[in-house]
């Protein structure tokens, strides 16, 4: 069975870098183990690299080497797409590139910790639709619940939509 496709917000990767043993770190585990397929874009990676190497984040990672280490892991574990269709769905224009990648890759899940914008966009069923592409917007903890309840090898996106 084809692995489910996910798009990770930069805040998930940064949180995983700071605490690799929390929910975000466990999502990274699934990504690096190829139990889910992560899609990203150069625009997302540019933001990630900037934020990971920010002095504020480096205080927690202790060294720039660790920041680049996580960046490298995420980049090497993800499929980089070049979206041709652009969306304007979030009040924060920086978030739109996540939606561009979801649509371009046909991802089933957008995983984010952004309570101010991204998570507010979903409906009561945690769904969001771009043109006719329907997907779930979840926090890392919610995503892990879905994986655990369905079993990572057998879960089908349609069961949650």
């Amino acid at each position: 069975m084809e692995a489910r496709k996910v798009v990770l917000d930069t805040n998930v990767v940064i949180t995983a870098a700071i605490n690799p043993f929390g929910s975000s770190g466990k999502v990274m585990d699934l990504v690096v183990e190829r139990k889910v397929v992560s899609y990203t874009s150069e625009a997302i990676l540019e933001e990630l690299r900037f934020k990971l190497t920010s002095e504020k984040v480096l205080r927690y990672l202790e060294s720039r080497v660790y920041a680049l280490w996580v960046y490298r892991v995420f980049r090497a574990s993800s499929i980089i797409v070049n979206p041709t269709e652009r969306f304007d769905v979030s009040p924060d224009p920086d978030d739109n590139k996540l939606f561009d990648v979801v649509y371009s890759s046909g991802a089933d899940f957008l995983i984010s910790l952004d309570k101010k914008h991204v998570l507010r966009l979903r409906d009561e069923g945690r769904k969001f639709t771009l043109n006719e592409h329907e997907f779930l917007i979840l926090t890392p903890a919610e995503f892990l619940n879905v994986v655990e309840s369905k079993g990572v090898k057998t879960w089908m996106c349609n069961a949650f939509l």
Binding site: F50, K51, S54, L68, W69
Partner: protein
């Protein structure tokens, strides 16, 4: 260690730290398995202090503001 010093003395690298930096860069660029790289990272991070959820949320907001400022300038 002696081999490292020999490389520095022979002029291949200007200092030990430069050699180590280069070795880490090589490791990051050429390591074939992201999974092994991630597992090693987790081992190294094991002793690190885990900040609270609130602390991480605040940090994420601050870094996002920094990113937006840098983009607009």
């Amino acid at each position: 260690m002696r081999e490292i010093d020999e490389l520095v003395e022979s002029g291949e690298f200007s200092s030990r730290s430069e050699l180590i930096k280069e070795a880490v860069r090589f490791f990051l660029l050429h390591y074939e398995s992201p999974k092994e790289l991630w597992e090693t990272y987790k081992l190294l991070a094991r002793e690190r202090r885990t900040p609270s959820k609130e602390e991480v949320e605040k940090l994420l907001e601050e870094v996002d503001e920094e990113w937006k400022r840098a983009r607009s300038s």
